[in-house]
């Protein structure tokens, strides 16, 4: 277990280093932010001075080493545009993204797991077909389009929910459903097939033969053994939510780090993009790590050497 943890940690650090390096290179290739930040009539001298101020006139490797050293300390520099530490901006926006992702994840799980189980209990029934067709639709519709359709139906057609911004719980409803739709569909489909696989096994037949109630068999005996793949996909989907948040936040003007990163990319605000992407990656990697550890709790047979 110890060795596994160390190896796993090494990989995680390697991944985070690689990600920040790629982002560093990509953002530096994207042109000169000094030109973008200054008004059009700025002189060559102005541009030169600003470049010096931002540390952009130094050789590339020097910039890179300084970037690495600073990012280890969580310091990604000051936002070019907002004149504030980039990490501070990210922290201010992080809560909104976590709130949205968490809400989306809860909606997805609460709807998907029972729907998947019910579909598995009565395979090939009308309910099964309806639920799984709906899941296929949810998996196939682009996130941003689901958002637009919700706005059209429940923001404009029936003005039940605000169409953008963050504030009351009402603001959260449509973005959370939009963001959660894909995860919901994936979790429902996987829950169904995991349950079907388990309910075919002998110990379930034995439980039935013993005369246990069907409800008890499904919820206590079958679900426990179907839990591993379900938890795996839930972990993966929670990670994927962070990516989907970029689009959802844009559609609903949700003030999270996804939207912050997109605006940063458009404004070539390197420090903000780097800080946002790095933070998202830390969360993603962390969640996968937790899921791996959860396995050992769910199935004591799994031991990491």
């Amino acid at each position: 277990m110890r060795r596994y943890l160390i190896r796993r940690l090494a990989r995680t650090i390697f991944a985070l280093w690689g990600i920040s390096t790629i982002v560093f290179i990509v953002m530096r290739l994207s042109g000169d932010p000094a030109v973008l930040l200054l008004p059009q009539e700025a002189s060559v001298e102005d541009v030169r001075r600003l470049r010096q101020e931002l540390g952009l006139d130094e050789p590339f490797p020097v910039q890179y080493l300084r970037f690495l050293g600073n990012s280890l300390r969580g310091n990604f520099g000051e936002s070019f545009r907002h004149k504030e530490p980039a990490m501070r901006l990210v922290r201010l926006h992080l809560w909104a993204t976590l709130e949205l992702s968490f809400a989306a994840f809860c909606i997805a799980t609460v709807v998907a797991v029972p729907s998947g189980i019910l579909a598995a209990v009565k395979p090939n029934s009308l309910y099964d077909h309806a639920a799984m067709s709906l899941a296929l639709v949810g998996q196939s519709a682009p996130t941003f389009w689901i958002g637009i359709m919700l706005i059209l139906a429940f923001g404009l057609g029936l003005p039940w929910f605000p169409i953008g911004g963050r504030g009351t719980w009402k603001h959260l409803v449509m973005p959370a459903i939009t963001l959660g739709a894909f995860a919901m569909a994936s979790i429902a489909r996987l829950t169904r097939s995991a349950m079907l696989e388990v309910t075919r096994l002998d110990y379930i037949t034995a439980a039935r033969a013993k005369g246990l109630g069907e409800g008890r068999i499904i919820w206590r005996h079958a679900l426990k053994n179907a839990a591993i793949p379900i938890v795996t996909i839930m972990g993966l989907q929670f990670g994927a939510l962070l990516g989907g948040a970029v689009v959802t936040e844009t559609v609903f003007s949700w003030p999270g780090i996804g939207r912050l990163a997109i605006q940063g990319i458009y404004n070539r605000d390197y420090p903000v993009v780097q800080a946002a992407v790095f933070t998202a990656a830390v969360f993603f990697v962390g969640i996968n790590f937790v899921v791996d550890l959860l396995y050992t709790l769910l199935d004591p047979r799994i031991r990491y050497e």
């Binding site: 990600i19 067709s133 998996q139 519709a141 682009p142 389009w145 637009i148 404009l156 079907l196 993603f284």
Partner: protein, 281 residues
């Protein structure tokens, strides 16, 4: 039909066939020029609306361009970028996965660490950042979208190769002094292809949606060339006055992705009958 195909498979095949035909023969199929603007006819609703006009079956957009024709031409962008990206991602992923599985050792470690690294990255952010830097050309889109998907191919290919490597027939060829590269091309690849075809089919749904997402964010194929994502982005500005602009291109997108997803599932069930009873029918 439903006796021979499971539900939705016939439908999916029909949708994809229609899509391919309209993409190949867009100029013949489309009723109008997709980029000609007619401001007099702007924001006309679909034909069945009381203000609609059968001249423009799905209505017109804010510049008076025929929506149906734009959807028909838009299928070209989606299919071209989607298929090309699958080829790029598949080729890269399969080469790396086979290499990792066949040779093992350090090489395997490095490739799999790379895969982990990519999985730890919100793909869409990477794609947006790179496209914003390099500019939204066809080639850039294909490469970025393709590379964003290589990991799945690599993992599946690697897993398959790991189990094949130990099989007697590979051993036998090795014993006869078969060349490594030849073993991979002639004997390993054909045997691992069927799960990879499933991955590729499902990946098409992903690449097409990612392309539309980038277009929606203004980073796809640039106007006036019609693309579904770009049309949805236009339509978003006119939600109050013209719901149809933001609706129909999305329906086209969803049907396309749904058909590839359904078809992929179906091929998987065919290829692996053990799963047939459990997977979605």
């Amino acid at each position: 039909m439903s006796k021979r195909f499971p539900p939705l498979v016939g439908f999916s095949l029909f949708i994809l066939l229609t899509l391919i035909v309209t993409a190949l023969f867009s100029p013949q199929v489309a009723p109008h020029n997709p980029i000609r603007e007619r401001l007099l006819d702007r924001l006309l609703p679909p034909a069945w609306d009381q203000d609609g006009d059968w001249h423009y079956v799905l209505g017109t957009d804010h510049l008076g361009r025929d929506l149906l024709s734009r959807i028909i031409f838009g299928s070209r962008v989606s299919l071209a970028v989607g298929v090309a990206a699958v080829v790029v991602g598949g080729a890269l992923g399969i080469s790396l996965g086979v290499t990792a599985g066949f040779f093992g050792g350090r090489l395997d470690e490095v490739i799999m660490a790379l895969a982990d690294m990519q999985l730890a990255f919100p793909t869409i952010l990477l794609a947006i950042a790179i496209i914003a830097v390099l500019g939204p050309s066809f080639a850039n889109l294909v490469v970025v979208i393709g590379i964003s998907g290589w990991v799945t191919y690599a993992r599946i290919a690697r897993g398959q190769v790991l189990s094949l490597r130990e099989k007697e027939f590979v051993e036998a060829i090795r014993a006869q002094g078969g060349n490594q590269f030849r073993i991979i091309i002639r004997h390993i690849l054909p045997n691992i292809l069927s799960p990879l075809i499933v991955v590729a089919t499902l990946d098409l749904a992903r690449t097409i949606i990612l392309e539309s997402t980038l277009s929606f964010l203004g980073l796809g194929i640039q106007p006036p060339t019609p693309s579904w994502g770009g049309m949805l982005s236009d339509g978003r500005e006119y939600l109050l006055s013209a719901w149809w602009i933001a609706t129909f291109p999305g329906v086209a997108l969803m049907l396309t992705a749904l058909s590839f997803n359904r078809l992929g599932d179906w091929i998987r069930d065919l290829a692996d009958p053990r799963l047939r009873r459990t997977e979605l029918r």
